[in-house]
């Protein structure tokens, strides 16, 4: 995708992390319009040029206030770039400034390239010719520096996540393109809007969860380390299978110290979970005694989140009580399973032991209570902010967040198009846009990849 000189651009124009006030600058035809969308105060589109206006930046999605600001409105041509320029003076520190930039980038501006304000100033005749060498030096110098920064910020795992997303979108795009360019090729399923809707919804959910975690300033590197514990026959294996069934699991073999530990990844309501020591749960051929407290305890040490299962159809055992005590200081969800069977247990006693922790009733074999469990995990993660002990990836990069937002909007357009009864190849336009936007994050280009995919995946003739 080509960056155009007709775009409205934005950046933080003060040195990062220095001083109390920082400035987000926007330049271009839509500068004032973009600012107005996230600003509460006077109507910026009506105020006089070269005025400073007091107000608040509001996130239009959540209606939450982000910062108290002063906004300078400067209309073309008497500005630095000779375009309409907005400068938002923020007071709330680095995080708030970053958040404001994210909003600006989500609502119609694109991230300025290094030196781009100065470049525009020159191209629009604001700076004279003698300074142009300096402009070019500046662009090059800033590019070299920002390339390094950008590479550092684009963490391997974020880019891996985005590439997964793009790969899935690419499969969809390629299939639609094959349908179009090779309509008589009968070996590929016709991509219907119904299928496209499923794909778009799935991808949008994944972008949502990225954005949600980004909101907290993090994306989990590997997911929340999650331990499923409980005494034998309580339903650990069923729970594991139920979770895996909800999501296509990625199983990796990690060479452990004493034996292979299998880790499985699932995504529950947008929360990535890394299920630890699932082999221990699966290993039913092992003697039953082995899968007791000792085994669970090891898993406990590594866990960010504990799912502790209790059997509703049997009285509480000493083992149950030990496990409850051992997880007392952990982020945990206690699951009272087998509610389809007559209750044999002292519920009051259990509630007492569970305390403030969440208690969810399930019948995993009957698939009852799974939604509540998912909702609870999501609630604890997004609202209560359980943290991963793994390394966190910061997606504080406003450019990435802005692009993710736009990619999300593109998917909303896909879904709207489908709802309006538009044909697949038109809906595809927005799907492609989403793909392009994600590609801007990882720096990949469209067409060659698509054609490669087309010709490697499908055997095309006529």
């Amino acid at each position: 995708m080509v960056n155009s000189e007709a775009d409205t651009i934005a950046a933080i124009s003060t040195p990062v992390g220095e001083g109390g006030i920082s400035i987000v600058r926007i330049s271009g035809d839509d500068a004032i319009k973009v600012a107005q969308r996230i600003y509460q105060g006077k109507n910026l589109e009506k105020v006089a040029s070269h005025t400073i206006n007091y107000g608040h930046i509001i996130d239009p999605d959540t209606k939450q206030e982000v910062d108290e600001v002063m906004v300078s409105v400067m209309r073309a041509p008497h500005t630095y770039t000779r375009e309409d320029v907005i400068e938002i003076n923020c007071h709330g520190g680095l995080l708030a400034t970053n958040r404001i930039l994210q909003l600006v980038l989500s609502y119609g501006a694109r991230m300025a390239e290094p030196g781009e304000f100065t470049k525009r100033a020159f191209l629009n005749g604001r700076i004279d010719l003698s300074q142009s060498e300096a402009v070019m030096d500046l662009i090059r110098a800033k590019t070299d520096k920002s390339m390094k920064v950008a590479l550092n910020q684009l963490d391997g795992d974020l880019s891996r996540l985005i590439r997964h997303l793009r790969k899935d979108i690419l499969d969809v795009l390629a299939q639609v393109e094959v349908n179009i360019d090779y309509p008589e090729y009968d070996d590929v399923e016709e991509m219907t809007t119904k299928m496209l809707k499923e794909k778009a919804t799935d991808i949008q959910q994944r972008i949502h969860s990225l954005l949600k975690t980004a909101k907290q300033g993090k994306v989990l590197r590997e997911g929340l380390a999650t331990a499923i514990i409980g005494r034998p026959n309580v339903g650990k294996s069923s729970l594991l299978n139920a979770l895996l069934h909800e999501d296509k699991a990625i199983v990796t073999n990690v060479a452990g110290t004493t034996r292979d530990v299998i880790e499985e990844y699932v995504n529950v309501n947008g929360v990535p979970l890394k299920l630890i020591d699932t082999a221990g749960i699966r290993d039913t051929a092992d003697t039953v005694e082995k899968i007791g407290v000792e085994r669970s305890r090891k898993a406990l040490d590594a866990a960010d989140l504990v799912l502790l299962l209790i059997d509703n159809s049997a009285p509480l055992t000493a083992e149950d009580e030990k496990l409850l005590a051992a997880t007392k200081d952990k982020q945990r969800i206690v699951i009272l399973n087998k509610t389809d069977l007559p209750s044999q247990l002292d519920l009051d006693r259990l509630k007492e032991l569970v305390g403030d922790a969440a208690l969810i009733e399930t019948s995993i074999v009957k698939r009852e209570g799974m939604d509540q469990l998912g909702a609870q995990i999501s609630h604890m993660f997004f609202d209560q902010g359980i943290e991963s002990s793994q390394n966190n990836v910061m997606v504080t990069n406003a450019r990435h967040i802005g692009l993710l937002h736009q990619a999300n909007d593109a998917l909303s357009d896909v879904l709207k198009g489908i709802a309006d009864g538009m044909p697949v190849d038109l809906v595809q336009i927005d799907m492609t846009r989403c793909w392009d936007l994600l590609g801007e994050i990882t720096g990949d280009s469209y067409q060659d990849e698509l054609l490669d995919q087309l010709f490697s995946q499908f055997c095309l003739g006529k």
Binding site: A6, D7, S132, I180, I429, C459, G461
Partner: protein
């Protein structure tokens, strides 16, 4: 008796053959369009071809159009080219593809009577007043001080011209390969042109070697059609040219059908057992073949898990029973080809008439071309078609038209003509070729066009006829007809926007509820109702008065498309608009990239090689990053490379 020595063509005594404005070398699909365009623009034009029997010949599939390609044919027609008219006069089957999809990707395809197609184009060329058609092989270009001034033929004629267009196709040092057999040849066993390639190399051109192929042909009388599935044409009339009236449509019962059969594990076994004799894999073929049109042996190897592949049996014409086996392009030995064919259902007893073959040929690496298709190395010399690395009759014709137009304009001392990516598929194709180059024979696909909703087959007349008229290839009468259609579309859209349907209208509410939608709450414009998926124009007329004059279906189609897809069309137009600023920024021809500090090494090398003409084109070169573009735009603005002050 003369000795063999004296029969060498180089011994022909040279003579002055005459002066022309434009000479076109090669009369395939590119050459035919180039010559007709140049001549119709008022240039005295010479068209030279190796064989008069090969004028607009289809050495491969007997069909025209299809996705993207069909749109190119419409574009050629709208610009005043010939391909649309020619196929409308000579088709044997017509089908609209992708009818279940959106308007942007609908595609017309015709099965051609390939002999009638050739004869019709030859006749049109013969009857063109400014155009001379002559059989000869061009051995050499006349080039003085880097400017092309004519050609020399094997028969010794020296023809002079202001501009020359080369459209030599696979004849360029062509070599046919069938199993272990290989020999010098152009397409379909015609003569190949060896000396011209050598001459181009001497002039400094970088030539690449490409490969393409064609399947065997069989005698239709020996096909058991009962074992295959019929593929008939369309009932509803369609034509490629905007000029051809529906009344001329051939009834389906009078069209010829195609037939579908499949390869099977036996076929695949035969191929696998003989891969050591396949030139594709033995290393005999060095040229790069197209991925989108693989040979059957390539399909078997690359897609080993597929148990069958489609084979379309396509008639080659009305006065022949020869059938083209679409899907089994191959260069296996003839012996194996026989076995392959006989293993296919319905072809058990089919008699091979011509074996399939692979052909290798020379290509002028297209980075050596301007977007006008003039070469950067020799001035006033233009190239088009397979010579530029493309594949396909339509791609060739599209480039031929542009090369012919520009050769004609240059001969007349006029400004060149370039189509943007947002103007036409032809613009996309030429920009791709000259900016990105190609590693394999280039075929147009709809996915190559970033503005494909704007580049539809149905609006090619609106997009391009004015341009064709300005060049002199579209008559006043034709233009007026298009403008009248445009006006009718606009008037009807305006009328539909002004008609309001009220919530009290029970008839329309009943219809809406039948489709599971909510009753009208407020008055709604008829134009907005049409946007709903369950409405089309004819349905709408049940609830509103009909227009005064009955509208023809092409006008109705435009009204529907422009209203139904307005949101998407608008979005693409915004994208086009954003690129315009960059398209308008021209990079002066004499720019010295060595003189620009700060360009990254890769960017500098690519810019030097491609020498883009606008900032937009520069930004599409792979390996040129945004910082390079930023620096380049500052440098261009600076204007220090040019004392003439070319910058705006």
């Amino acid at each position: 008796m003369k000795s063999a020595e004296s029969l060498k063509t180089s011994d022909a005594v040279q003579y002055e053959g005459g002066d022309y404005d434009v000479i076109v070398v090669g009369a395939g699909h590119a050459g035919s369009e180039a010559a007709l365009a140049a001549a119709r623009m008022g240039n005295k034009t010479l068209l030279v071809t190796i064989s008069l029997e090969m004028v607009a010949f289809m050495p491969c599939n007997p069909s025209v159009g299809g996705p993207a390609k069909g749109i190119v044919v419409r574009e050629i027609d709208a610009l005043g080219g010939e391909m649309g008219h020619n196929i409308d006069k000579t088709y044997i089957q017509m089908r609209m593809l992708n009818t279940g999809k959106g308007p942007a990707v609908r595609a017309l395809r015709a099965q051609a009577d390939k002999h009638a197609y050739h004869r019709q184009m030859k006749l049109t060329i013969e009857r063109e007043p400014n155009l001379t058609l002559r059989q000869a092989t061009v051995d050499q270009l006349i080039v003085e001080d880097g400017v092309c001034k004519g050609v020399i033929t094997n028969t010794g004629a020296r023809y002079h011209a202001k501009t020359v267009v080369l459209t030599v196709g696979t004849a360029a040092r062509g070599k046919i390969i069938i199993g272990e057999l290989q020999y010098q040849s152009g397409p379909n066993n015609s003569k190949s042109a060896v000396k011209l390639s050598e001459n181009l190399e001497d002039l400094g051109f970088d030539l690449e070697r490409f490969k393409t192929g064609t399947p065997p042909r069989v005698n239709g009388n020996t096909i058991n059609f009962d074992e295959t599935d019929i593929q008939p044409g369309d009932e509803e009339p369609h034509h490629f040219s905007f000029d051809t009236p529906d009344s001329q449509y051939i009834a389906v019962s009078d069209q010829l059908a195609c037939w579908l059969t499949y390869t099977n594990p036996t076929t695949h076994g035969i191929i696998r057992a003989n891969l050591d004799r396949a030139p594709m894999f033995s290393g005999m073929i060095k040229g790069v073949g197209p991925r989108y049109c693989p040979s059957i042996e390539d399909k078997i190897v690359r897609f080993a898990d597929k148990s069958r592949h489609q084979v379309f049996l396509e008639p080659e014409g009305r006065d022949t029973d020869e059938y083209y086996l679409d899907g089994v392009s191959t260069s296996m030995p003839e012996e194996i080809q026989n076995k392959i064919v006989h293993s296919i259902k319905g072809l058990e007893n089919a008699q091979l008439m011509r074996p399939g073959y692979a052909i290798e040929y020379d290509v002028v690496a297209p980075y050596q071309l301007h977007p006008t298709l003039e070469t950067k190395i020799v001035k006033n010399l233009y190239t088009a078609g397979q010579t530029n690395g493309s594949s396909g009759y339509e791609e060739a014709a599209g480039q031929g038209l542009i090369a012919g137009i520009n050769a004609g304009l240059r001969a007349q001392g006029k400004q060149p003509f370039v189509l943007k990516r947002s103007d036409a598929y032809i613009g996309v194709m030429i920009d791709d070729l000259v900016t990105k180059g190609t590693k394999e024979p280039y075929r147009l696909l709809t996915s190559r066009a970033e503005y494909r909703l704007i580049l539809r087959h149905d609006n090619a007349d609106f997009r391009l006829m004015e341009k064709g008229h300005a060049i002199g290839l579209v008559s006043d009468e034709r233009l007026a007809k298009m403008e009248a259609k445009k006006a009718k579309v606009a008037a009807e859209i305006k009328r539909l926007q002004s008609i309001k349907l009220k919530p009290s209208d029970e008839k329309v509410n009943t219809f809406i509820e039948q489709h599971g939608d909510n009753r009208l709450k407020d008055a709604v414009a008829a134009a907005d109702l049409l946007k709903r998926p369950y409405f089309d124009y004819q349905t709408l007329l049940n609830f509103i008065p009909a227009p005064q004059d009955t509208l023809d279906r092409h006008v109705i189609e435009q009204v529907e498309i422009q209203l139904k897809y307005a949101g998407y069309i608008k979005k693409e137009e915004v994208k086009v608009e954003r690129m315009k600023r960059m398209e308008a920024k021209r990079i002066p021809a004499d720019i010295d990239y060595e003189d620009i500090d700060g360009l990254a090494t890769e960017g500098r090398q690519k810019l030097e090689k491609i020498r883009p003409e606008t900032l937009a084109q520069a930004s599409r070169i792979s390996g040129v990053n945004p910082a390079d573009i930023a620096i380049l735009s500052v440098y261009v603005r600076q204007g220090k490379f040019s004392k003439k002050g070319e910058q705006e």
